[in-house]
Assembly symmetry: C2
Homo-oligomer: 346 residues x 2
C-alpha cells in the first residue's frame, strides 16, 4: 500500500493523542476528521521520562501504521489527564501519570520536530464530540466523562469554557456526601469517590467482605486489578449486588445531570467515558430519574427532555479527534481565547 | 439648571429601566455610566396596559428629572422579570407583572419614538455589575440575585451566557428538598421556595403560629405585607427565630455558591438583590460555610477564596446601568450573540 497523500503542497494531516493512565491511543487525522492508523499501547508510568517515551512511541507507531508521508504532518495535539497549562504546554499535575510540572510541549517538540499542543484529556474529548460526535452542530452542550474520573466539560457559544484556572467542570470533586468515602483529591464524599469506576469496585469489594452473595466474588478471586466493567457484566447477568450498586450510582448521576442542566440550559448532555453505556441498570436508572425530575419540575421541562440525554458516539476516537482539532486550531492561533478562560473550537 | 448637553452632534444618552413587580426604577445614563435623574415609581400591575403606562411614565419622568434634551437620547433599555424574547422584544411570561406574550418593544417604540430593547431583569443587573460594579474587569464571574426570586447569571469570557432557552442560571427552581415547600413554578422544594424573601417571611409566620417567641409577631401584627427586610432587622436585634431562619438560609446559599463555583471556576461570585447585605447572620453564615468548604476541599481552594465572594456595589443602579448598556450594544448590533445563546457585553 502506498502512503496516503494529500493534495500537493498541503500539510493536511495532524496526529491526535489521548494519553491515559494505562493506555495511550493515537491516530493520524485528516482535515475531514478521518482517522488513520489507530494505535493503542500501554503507558509506562514507572518514570516521567519513560511516560514521555511511551507517547513518542505511540506517535511514531501511528505515523507508520497510517503510512502517511511525515512531511505531510503539520502538528501533534495531545489530551493529558489532570491540570494542564495549555499556553506553555506544561502538565502541571497528572496524578495517575506521576507527573508534576513536566514541560511536555518542549520535550516532544525536540524529539519529533513538530509543533505540539496539549489540553486536559476530558476537554479534548468534549471538543471531539462537539466537532464529530453527539454534540455536532450544537452551540451549547455538556459533556460528562464517567470512568476512572468523573468530570464535566461545557461547550458554550461554540467554545470550550475552561474557567479562570482551567478547573471548570471538575464536579467530580464536588462534595455530595459530607464525611463520605475518601477521595484521591484529599476531600471526603466527592462525587468521584461515589460513582467513578474505582469507587464502584471498592463498594462491590465491601459488599463481598460483608458476605453478600454476588458472582463478582468468583470473578475477582484471582484478579489482580478488578474492573468496573465486570460489575456492568454481572448486573446484566442479574447479579443483585451489581444491580443495586449501579442503580445507586445512576441516581446520583441523574441528580448531577439535573443540576447541571438547570444551571446551563444546554441543548444536550452527552455521556462519555468507560461507564457511559446504554445496557444495564446504570443508564436505565439515569434515564428514569431524569424523567421523574421532568415530571416534578415545569422549568426543567422547558430546558430538557429525555431526547436531550445522549451517549457518546465516538468512544475512543473522541480523544484522538479532539486532540487533532486542538492542534489544527492552535497552529492557526496559538493563544486564541485562553486569556478569556475559553478554548476556541475551530 | 440648563439641560445636560453632550458634545455637538452626538446622541450619547440612553435610558435604563429596571421594571419590578412593585417598583419601576429608571435613569438617564451617559456613555461613561453616569446616571442622571433617577426616578422610582410604583408599578401598576392591575392590567398589562397599565403596567406599560407605568413604564412610559417612569421614562418620561427620568428624562424630565435629568433635564436632558430628548434629541440627545438614542435608545431605551429595559430589564423585565421573567422570560423574555430579546430579539423580538416580547415579554413571554412575567408572573409578578401578570404579563404573558406582551410585545413590549413594539408598544414602547410606538409610544416613545425611540428604539427599545429588553432583557431579563437579573441578566441586566449582572451586565451592570460586570461593566460598572463588583464584576468590573472580570472575564468570568457569577452574579447571584437574592430577593423575591433567586437566580444566578453567568458572565463567561466577557459575555452573558443565556443558555439555549434563555433559562441558564434559573437555579432558584432547582429542587433541593424533595417534597419540600410549594414553589410558584409548580414544583416543590425549589431553592427559591426555601431562601427567597417571601419564603423567609412564610417560615417566620409559621414559627409565630407555632407559638415561638419573636419580635416579628409584634412587628407584623398590623402589617398587610410583611417584609423579609424586617427579619434581617429582628436578627440584628438578637431575635432568636430571625437569626435561626437566616442562618439556615445562609447555609443553603453557601452550598449553592460552592456547587456553582466548583462548576464554573469563576473569578468571583457577586451577591446582589434585596437580601444581599453584609450585616447580620445571613451573610456571616454564607462566609463561614464557604470557609468550611475551603478547609474540606483542596480543589475548591484552587478555585475560590473568601476574597472571591463579593457584595454588589451598585444596588439599585445595577439594573439601570445594565439596561442602558444593553440599549447601547443593541443599537450597534441588534442580534449579536443571541443565535449562540449569549449576550455580548459591549
Amino acid at each position: 500500500m502506498s502512503p496516503i497523500t494529500p493534495p500537493a503542497g498541503s500539510k493536511s494531516f495532524v496526529v491526535g493523542v489521548d494519553v491515559g493512565g494505562t493506555k495511550i491511543a493515537a491516530g493520524v487525522v485528516d482535515a475531514n476528521g478521518q482517522v488513520y492508523g489507530r494505535v493503542k499501547i500501554p503507558t509506562d508510568t514507572s518514570q516521567p521520562e519513560r511516560t514521555l517515551q511511551s507517547i513518542i512511541i505511540a506517535i511514531t507507531a501511528t505515523l507508520r501504521e497510517a503510512e502517511v508521508n511525515p512531511s505531510h504532518v503539520s502538528a501533534v495535539g495531545l489530551g493529558i489527564p489532570g491540570k494542564v497549562d495549555p499556553v506553555r504546554g506544561i502538565s502541571l499535575l497528572a496524578v495517575n501519570l506521576g507527573w508534576h510540572d513536566i514541560p511536555v510541549k518542549q520535550r516532544l517538540e525536540e524529539a519529533l520536530d513538530l509543533p505540539c499542543w496539549l489540553e486536559n484529556d476530558v476537554s479534548v474529548a468534549a471538543l471531539g464530540e462537539s466537532l464529530y460526535g453527539a454534540g455536532r452542530g450544537l452551540e451549547n452542550f455538556l459533556y460528562l466523562s464517567l470512568g476512572t474520573g468523573v468530570a464535566a466539560r461545557m461547550i458554550l457559544a461554540g467554545q470550550l469554557y475552561r474557567g479562570s484556572n482551567g478547573l471548570a467542570g471538575e464536579i467530580g470533586h464536588a462534595i455530595v456526601v459530607p464525611d463520605g468515602p475518601q477521595c484521591l483529591c484529599g476531600a471526603r464524599g466527592c462525587l468521584e469517590a461515589l460513582i467513578s469506576g474505582p469507587a464502584l469496585v471498592k463498594q462491590a469489594q465491601e459488599e463481598i467482605r460483608a458476605g453478600k452473595r454476588t458472582i463478582l466474588k468468583e470473578t475477582w478471586l484471582h484478579e489482580p486489578q478488578p474492573l468496573a466493567e465486570q460489575i456492568f457484566a454481572a448486573a446484566l447477568q442479574g447479579d443483585d449486588v451489581a444491580q443495586q450498586l449501579l442503580t445507586g450510582a445512576g441516581k446520583r448521576l441523574a441528580n448531577t445531570i439535573y443540576l447541571l442542566a438547570m444551571t446551563f440550559d444546554p441543548q444536550a448532555v452527552v455521556l462519555g467515558g468507560g461507564l457511559a453505556r446504554a445496557d444495564g441498570p446504570f443508564f436505565a436508572t439515569v434515564c428514569s430519574e431524569v424523567v421523574r425530575k421532568l415530571e416534578q419540575s415545569p422549568i426543567f421541562r422547558e430546558i430538557f427532555s429525555p431526547k436531550s440525554l445522549l451517549l457518546s458516539d465516538l468512544k475512543l476516537d473522541a480523544g484522538i479527534l479532539g486532540a487533532a482539532s486542538l492542534a489544527r486550531t492552535r497552529l492557526k492561533n496559538p493563544k486564541r481565547g485562553y486569556n478569556k478562560g475559553v478554548l476556541s473550537r475551530g
